[in-house]
């Protein structure tokens, strides 16, 4: 194999920290994946089995685009549900298509095996040292944490910004500086600077707003193209959004938190159901008991763990009388249908809120 060119799947803005990490520990070229477009999905769709879950099609499409652009080392990190089989199946499909490449899975048997990851990386860069990996690993972890914190703040306020697009602009600038950061102190400084700037953005947020929690399958939640920019749509209705799933949660918090969730919602769930199903049931109970006005559950079509969680979520919401709406996205979803349902959902929760206020006044 000639010069190594490394690439990875696309996931929201997380390509920035991933690229940062890889480019510092490997001495080969890192090819940043293109943004997901209709063409990516088409490519993934026509080479995937019909009834596989949608993230498979999206990531496969990205890989094909990357390989066409010259990549020859690909990273995947899958485990927890059917996602665990992506690696083998995608490897086979891509090799059948005639591409020659090295495919590395960062997850073994559903767990992060740090020793194996190190060995895999060492194969790519024989001069690799442990301390270097740790050093940049910590910076990357912190970067993800900061990104997620900013995202949380943006999500709560973006619907109310006075000048449209101001949050996105700041976030973009921050990510750009993040990608060039030298050390952890500098990173912290940049984060503080931009976080302050975000807090300064003028918003016209009323005291009482409609608050909606988004739960569901992780990929569809995190990649805006996969959920048809649902958050943007909700923000246009001046809704405050609460979302739990982000990369920091998945990589560093999930293990501990799942046990908490299982205990917290023990009247509804006893065992883990794979992927994020148990987490979502716990979150659903939390949202229901903390005065949220509605819950939106999204998943990619054919996501088995979430299909198992849906009836339980429905039951919890019925018991607490909180409106819930379920969306299932895939490449063939009609955008108009989604918009109609979101609009109706907004009308519904607004009507309920008005009614509640009237009742409490009397």
């Amino acid at each position: 194999m000639s010069k190594k060119i490394v690439s990875f799947p696309m996931l929201g803005n997380y390509s920035v920290p991933i690229k940062y990490f890889l480019s510092h520990i490997l001495d080969c070229k890192i090819l940043e994946p293109l943004k997901i477009t209709s063409k990516t999905i088409e490519l993934g769709n026509c080479n995937s089995p019909e009834f596989v879950c949608t993230p498979f099609k999206f990531t496969l499409g990205t890989y094909i685009e990357d390989l066409k652009r010259g990549a020859n080392v690909l990273f995947q990190a899958g485990g927890g549900c059917r996602y665990g089989y992506y690696f083998e199946l995608q490897d086979k499909i891509l090799k059948d298509l005639g591409y020659d490449f090295k495919y590395i899975n960062l997850v073994t048997k559903g767990d992060q095996d740090l020793k194996k990851i190190y060995q895999d990386l060492k194969e790519l860069n024989p001069h690799l040292k442990v301390d270097k990996v740790l050093y940049y690993g910590i910076i990357t972890k912190t970067m993800i944490k900061y990104m997620d914190k900013c995202d949380d703040y943006i999500r709560q306020n973006i619907g109310f910004e006075v000048v449209k697009g101001s949050f996105e602009k700041i976030n973009k600038k921050m990510l750009e500086e993040f990608s060039k950061v030298k050390n952890i102190f500098k990173l912290r400084k940049i984060y503080k600077k931009y976080y302050k700037e975000m807090k300064k953005v003028k918003t016209n947020k009323p005291k009482e707003t409609l608050r909606v929690g988004i739960i569901g399958e992780l990929y569809t939640i995190m990649e805006p193209f996969a959920n048809y920019y649902l958050e943007r749509e909700l923000a246009s209705y001046n809704i405050e959004i609460k979302r739990y799933t982000n990369v920091h949660y998945l990589l560093f918090e999930k293990k501990r938190t799942v046990k908490k969730y299982l205990k917290y919602a023990k009247e509804y769930i006893k065992y883990r159901m794979g992927a994020d199903a148990a987490d979502n049931i716990g979150r659903c109970k939390y949202l229901c008991t903390h005065n949220y006005d509605g819950i939106i559950h999204i998943k990619s079509a054919f996501c088995t763990p979430e299909i198992g969680a849906m009836p339980i979520i429905n039951k919890i919401c019925k018991e607490y009388d909180v409106p819930v709406i379920f969306f299932s996205f895939d490449a063939n979803t009609s955008e108009t249908g989604i918009k109609t349902r979101i609009e109706a959902f907004y009308d519904m929760i607004e009507m309920r809120k008005k009614n509640e206020r009237m009742l409490s006044r009397n």
Binding site: L34, T37, Y229, P311, E343, A344, M348, N355
Partner: protein
Amino acid sequence: MNECYLGIDIGSISTKGVIIDNDNNIIASLYSWTEGNPIEAVKKLIKNLKKQLPNNYQIKGIGTTGSARKLIGLMLDANIVKNEITAHSVGTLNFYPDVRTILEIGGQDSKIIIINNGIITDYSMNTLCAAGTGAFLSSQAKRLGIDIEEFGEMAYKSNNPVKIAARCTVFAESDLVHKAQIGYKIDDIVSGLCKSIVLNYLNNVGKGKKIIGPIVFQGGVSKNIGVVKYFKEILNQEIIVDPNSHLMGAIGIAILARKNKIGKVYDLNIKDIKFEINGEECERCSNCCEILKIYKNDELVDAWGSKCGREFK
């Protein structure tokens, strides 16, 4: 001069229009076919409504709903454009304030709305399949050579509905063909079809919903007495079908137009307005968005469909 408000519900199959006064009384109404051309259908509809409207009324608000709501809303400069679910609920609540469940079966979609104390608490709409909607009924009626208006009566008369596998329209049709070929009476087949619509609706749209009376059934299919009969039989409850059940969405949006009026007077002279839509594929990135450009009298008034928010003006 009396004030009145126009509500238009442009569905996939039919276009409905009503004009109401300040007390929500219907002054003029029309039910017509969309025939795949919402702009022409609305032009015709308005021409007809204008004839019905007495001289001493002026239109102070316009609302649009249904699948072509955005386009027609732009064309008429409507003061409110709302989804069908809200419009139907508002319309029904006006006539039946204590309604708990609204069943609605239209041309392409069907929905269920659960209401508690006059507010929507839950709703759902069909997602994947059109088995169990008006379009399926009308296509089958055409295939059997029966007028859609007679369809319900035929179904109502029969006491021996044929069992039809109605999970999917295509398989339902092959099952229908099969039942006809082995010699079932046409009345029984039609009746079985109506029953299958009800079962399909309750299994898909109504799944997991608690259906409590009073129940109001509306949408075009509510005019089919065969379907109403089986809803009564299967739910074992009284089903209310309003004489204006087919207009309920339009009435609802007219009421919303009244509530949201902005003080503008509409003259409804759209006969001579040239309204054109041009679809094109954007080639700036590999998203290849389908862009709809809307021209009013050869002037670009709006463009929809870009994922990136590209400006066109």
